[in-house]
């Protein structure tokens, strides 16, 4: 049954490639995608009764390639289907290129494949092909800047995935299998000193793909490309990075004897703080969103390694972040078209130009900032629920940074209207952003139920704890307003930070440094 979930998007892709010149065929594809969403829901309900397991080609056990859907992967597949449905609605009228539609739906199939895959080598193939697809998607607009950043993106990704391939060879040498379930059992018997090299070789690329500092700069680079489709940026931070986080969770389970939680908590904190500073220094609204994505990934990384309660919060945050960040990126795509510039200092008066888009953007902002009743608040509440002392305050400071960032972002809503009046806003784009914004609110109100439903864990919301969070939120907003009033973007320090740019060699050095640091950390 599971292979069909990977094949279905590919069939839609081929269908669109053959007939994409007409509007009608796109509507058919969107309907097919909507039906597919229903099927993923059925799959999820099915997976609640136990893991669904398919051996591709009928070979069971070590010999075959297995696809498995447990609750986590089934819920992420559902998210993937929903986000691609919304991206398809968003792109209904443009871009008209056949290539765009073909690649988008192939990408969906690949992402779903990664969520189902329980085989090290399969993961390699899917990741590498997905990288190739992203590279073509961002450079098909054929502009020098996009070509250059596309080359860097592709080459760095290829260089780093070779580490993974080498690590996979080590796993095969040690355990004689590439199946994750069998490898887990074999690795559980081993000493952790034996596992240091394969673990580092496999995890360094995953950390890269998660876009953690010092390797975070590829993601904003790709998302900030002028004229690249907004839906690509939305899916990149909504799902592509989440694939890496999902693989991180899986591989941590496989390498259970290796204890590295502390390392990732530190890495997550560094990532979050650096990204927030980077984001605050940017002027391009897409870059602000891109750096805030890496900050949220850092936050998720901290949560995943803290305790069980925080890990549930992080899983929920993976889904919440995909929803509100997709809403923000798609909204930013409309805004950039309307104002003919991505510069935040030149955009103002959105509320006069398009009240609906302003409200939906505001809802997404409230979601990411963790305002009460919106989805971000629930996942952040669970992340902080059990932690105490230092970690609690660090998490709050990171959230404060996010709020400062998005208070600055709300500037585009107010002031005189500077938009280009001749550009019409497409209704389908507004609908897709509005759908995501409504999801932000709905997932906030039903957040606790959703956590129980999606992950089957028993969590509950303490009223006074939630009230406390609301008070902290209000205080943070006050601080954020104050900071935004007095810290100007033309500040010398921030201008320096903004001009920071890693080139290809710099990124390779960072990969090497990360690899060495991980090796040294594991030896101690």
């Amino acid at each position: 049954m599971l292979p069909y979930f990977v094949i279905a998007p590919l069939l839609i892709a081929v269908f669109l490639y053959l007939f994409s010149s007409s509007r009608a065929s796109r509507i058919v594809a969107i309907i097919a995608q909507a039906v597919f969403v229903v099927f993923t829901l059925v799959l999820f309900l099915e997976s609640r009764h136990g893991e669904i397991y398919t051996a591709v080609g009928g070979y069971r056990g070590v010999l075959g390639i297995t696809l498995t859907a447990d609750m986590l992967s089934a819920s992420l597949v559902m998210l993937t289907a929903v986000l691609f449905l919304i991206a398809a609605i968003y792109g209904l009228k443009e871009p008209s290129s056949k290539l765009y539609w073909l690649l988008m739906f192939i990408w969906e199939g690949l992402i779903i494949g990664i969520f189902f895959s329980r085989d090290f080598f399969n993961v390699f193939v899917l990741l590498e092909v997905a990288t190739l697809i992203v590279a073509v998607l961002i450079m098909y607009v054929r502009e020098n800047r996009s070509m250059f950043d596309g080359v860097i993106f592709l080459m760095v990704n290829t260089a780093v995935i070779q580490f993974y391939l080498l690590g996979l060879g080590y796993i095969y040498m040690l355990t004689g299998t590439l199946d994750m379930a069998v490898a887990t059992a074999a690795i559980a018997q081993m000493e952790s000193s034996q596992l240091i090299l394969p673990y580092t070789l496999i995890m360094a690329p995953i950390v890269f793909k998660c876009a953690l500092v010092p390797l975070a700069s590829w993601l904003p680079k790709v998302q900030g490309i002028p004229r690249a489709p907004a839906a690509v940026a939305a899916i990149l931070s909504g799902l592509h990075v989440k694939c890496a986080l999902f693989l991180f969770i899986r591989f941590q389970e496989v390498f259970a004897p290796v204890a590295t939680e502390g390392f990732y908590i530190v890495l997550g904190i560094v990532t979050a703080v650096t990204s927030i500073i980077m984001a605050f220094s940017q002027k391009d609204i897409r870059l602000i969103l891109a750096y805030s994505s890496t900050a949220q990934v850092g936050l998720i990384m901290i949560g995943l390694n803290l305790d069980e309660y925080a890990a549930t919060g992080s899983l929920l945050h993976i889904i919440n972040h995909a929803v509100f960040k997709a809403a923000l990126f798609l909204g930013a795509g409309i805004i950039v078209r309307m104002y003919r510039t991505p510069d935040i200092t030149k955009i103002s008066g959105l509320i006069k130009r398009s009240p609906i888009l302003s409200i939906t953007t505001m809802m997404a902002i409230l979601g990411i900032a963790g305002a009460p009743f919106f989805n971000g608040s629930i996942s952040k509440y669970f992340m902080m629920a059990e932690s105490g002392g230092l970690v609690f305050w660090i998490l709050n400071i990171i959230n404060l940074g996010t709020i400062i960032l998005f208070v600055r972002y709300t500037k585009i809503l107010f002031g005189p209207d500077t938009s280009n009046k001749s550009v019409q806003i497409d209704v389908n784009k507004q609908i897709s952003v509005a759908m995501l914004a409504v999801m932000c609110l709905a997932m906030g109100i039903g957040g606790v139920w959703l956590a129980n439903f999606l992950f089957g864990v028993d969590v509950e919301l303490n009223f006074w704890g939630y009230f406390e969070k609301a008070v902290i939120f209000a205080a943070s907003v006050a601080i954020a307003l104050f900071v935004n009033k007095y810290v100007k973007n033309d500040n010398f320090f921030l201008a320096r930070v903004r001009s920071l740019d890693l080139n290809f060699r710099g990124m390779c050095v960072c990969i090497g440094v990360l690899f060495a640091v991980m090796l040294v950390f594991m030896q101690i």
């Binding site: 590279a135 250059f148 596309g150 290809f504 390779c508």
Partner: protein
């Protein structure tokens, strides 16, 4: 063979860090891929092993080659080829526009071209 391939892998990585020329970087990337392939082919290799083909294999299990690494590497080679092909396509486009294969120069010139368009 294993040690040699790992040395080759990290030499290629060193090349990626130091090379100033885009084409050299691509060559280093291919070298890195080759190193991984050599590593895989050397897995569980010993002298005198036979290919696992034919109905009446007489050799002991220990003397039959493991077919899995080869199968994996064929896939890896194809993917590597596709990636390098796309890389080269993009680089040809950039070189035609900027008349250079130097990382810094290409970057600077492609930024300048954007400014001109604006």
């Amino acid at each position: 063979m294993q040690t040699a391939s790992i040395i080759m892998f990290f030499l290629a990585f060193f090349g990626l860090i130091t090379s100033q020329n885009i084409i050299k970087s691509v060559i280093c990337l291919m070298l890195q891929q080759t190193a991984v392939i050599v590593f895989f082919l050397g897995l569980r290799h010993r002298h005198g092993i036979l290919a696992p083909i034919g109905d009446n294999l007489t050799a002991e299990i220990a003397y039959i080659a493991d077919p899995l690494p080869q199968a994996l590497m064929i896939t890896a080679i194809i993917i590597g080829l596709a990636v390098v092909a796309v890389d080269i396509t993009m680089i040809i486009y950039l070189t035609n526009k900027t008349n250079s294969t130097d990382w810094d120069e290409v970057k600077q010139k492609s930024r300048e071209l954007i400014e001109e368009v604006k």
